[in-house]
Amino acid sequence: MLHATELSKSYKSGNALHNFSIELKPGVISGLLGRNGAGKTTLFKILCGLITPDYGTVAVASKRAKPIGAVIEQPGLYGYLNAYENLRLFAQIQKAPADVNSVKNYLESVGLPVDRKDPVRNFSMGMKQRLGIAIALLNDPDILILDEPFSGLDPTGVASLIKLIKKLATQNIAILLSSHLMTELQKCCDYLYVIDNGTLVNKGETRMLLDGLISRYTITATNIETSRTLQPYLVAAEKNTASIKCSSEHIPGILQNVLEEGFAVTSCLPDITLEQLVIPLAP
């Protein structure tokens, strides 16, 4: 659906993007992981046509009036208008349906209340993100690009946005989202690209990519630090939290044994850092 090949862009301050290639497919959620300033936003702006690359091409196979919908950096909204007026305005300028029912449907599709009449400057970041996504989805684009959609959201907001993104992917939309936070991308992305200093340093299916790299897990349960099962793997322990070192194929068995010991495990999170992913791709 979208093929971007060998994109490069440099500014006076240096290279923002170097030979970056990316592919987006219908119904697949792709994630772009990278530190702040790694080149994620520059890539997104190029993909959306906001800036021109020095080299490289972007090919989009779509016949729609708006092939790509996107929220780049913060959602740009008219703060003095309410959500309904914002949506209607953006719908009208591109001749998308802008009648009362259509606008209400847009609002409902992203889980926003249809009866809020106050200006969007009063909205929480999560609500602004949702409105930004609703605007991006006007005119039914084939591709949705979201730049740092989780920044500034509380855990409930993150969970709810992940649910929405997954729902959109089921409608056969190709989705690309960026973050410097791995946990969020890990939860919703089928495929991951890792960018560092404007260069693609790693890519692959999320599970394959992470499973190969995860060697530590943090398990939470009451008095878990006393578990006999965990002792051979224990790296660090605090009250109700144990950090263990093992490969991903061992973790189901270990958890099973811990549960049989009678510990009520409340979470088991893989410990992986961005630095682990920032390793050069094999030639």
Binding site: K45, C48, G49, L50, I51, T52, A65, K66, I68, G69, A70, V71, I72, E73, Q74, P75, G76, L77, Y78, G79, Y80, L81, E85, L89, F90, Q92, I93, Q94, K95, G132, I135, A136, L138, N139
Partner: protein
Amino acid sequence: MMIPLLKAELFKLFRESKTWYAIGAVLLIEGIILTAAYYQGATILELLLDNLRQSFYFEGNLLNGNLLLYIILNSLWFNLPLILMIVSSALITEEYKNGTLKTLMLQAVSKGQLITAKYITSFIFTALILALLMLTTFILAYSIFGSGDLVVYLGTLNFFPADEAFKRICFAFASGLLSMLFFTTVSLTLGILLKEPAKTWIASAFFLILCSLLLKADFGLPTVERFFFPKLTNAWQHFFDYELDINSILIDNLLLAGYTVFFAVVGIYLFTKRDIG
């Protein structure tokens, strides 16, 4: 596609509080001038015409609606274009500042059409404000001060009978509209170049002051004196020359309209060629 864009631009413009502050400022200045004229106008006029009264007999009331319309018309020198330039440049600079330009450009909208809609919106707003200024001044000045002959000092004192004066004031407002459109177009183009509201306001005010200074400057070159744009921005003032040179005023206005189109085309070209964000 242009009509929905125009509607959206006008909707945004009139929903922004700064637009209403600008309209309020224009009307407040008008109110202050009329109030000052009501209480002190006669005294000032007496002072100005004191010497002449020793040689001439003045019939009728010279502090009248036409004189007030002419005084308000002089807002076209500085305060009105400044206010209009601030509002017009904000049409683009506020979009840059709030990130809404990115959102707009991520929709199925062309850059050329969007910026053209902004220039047209600026034209419409300028025309509306000037019409409002003329209409409110006409109603208030005529109802408070009545009609009468107009006395104007342009190097020499020119007197116009009431009917003739009103016609000239109407033409001057129409010509003044072209001058205002020139300044608002320049401010929008400056907004495209500078992107930031504060920088654009300073640059717009500087441009306005520079034009006023250059208008008075003598370059000694007939071509520059005739065709350089600062020399054309006062065409409306020539409607109060005693001997009316319609051809000269018409040429000035056409040239100024040409400069306006030129600055708009430059702005549209820059906007379509530059990256967003």
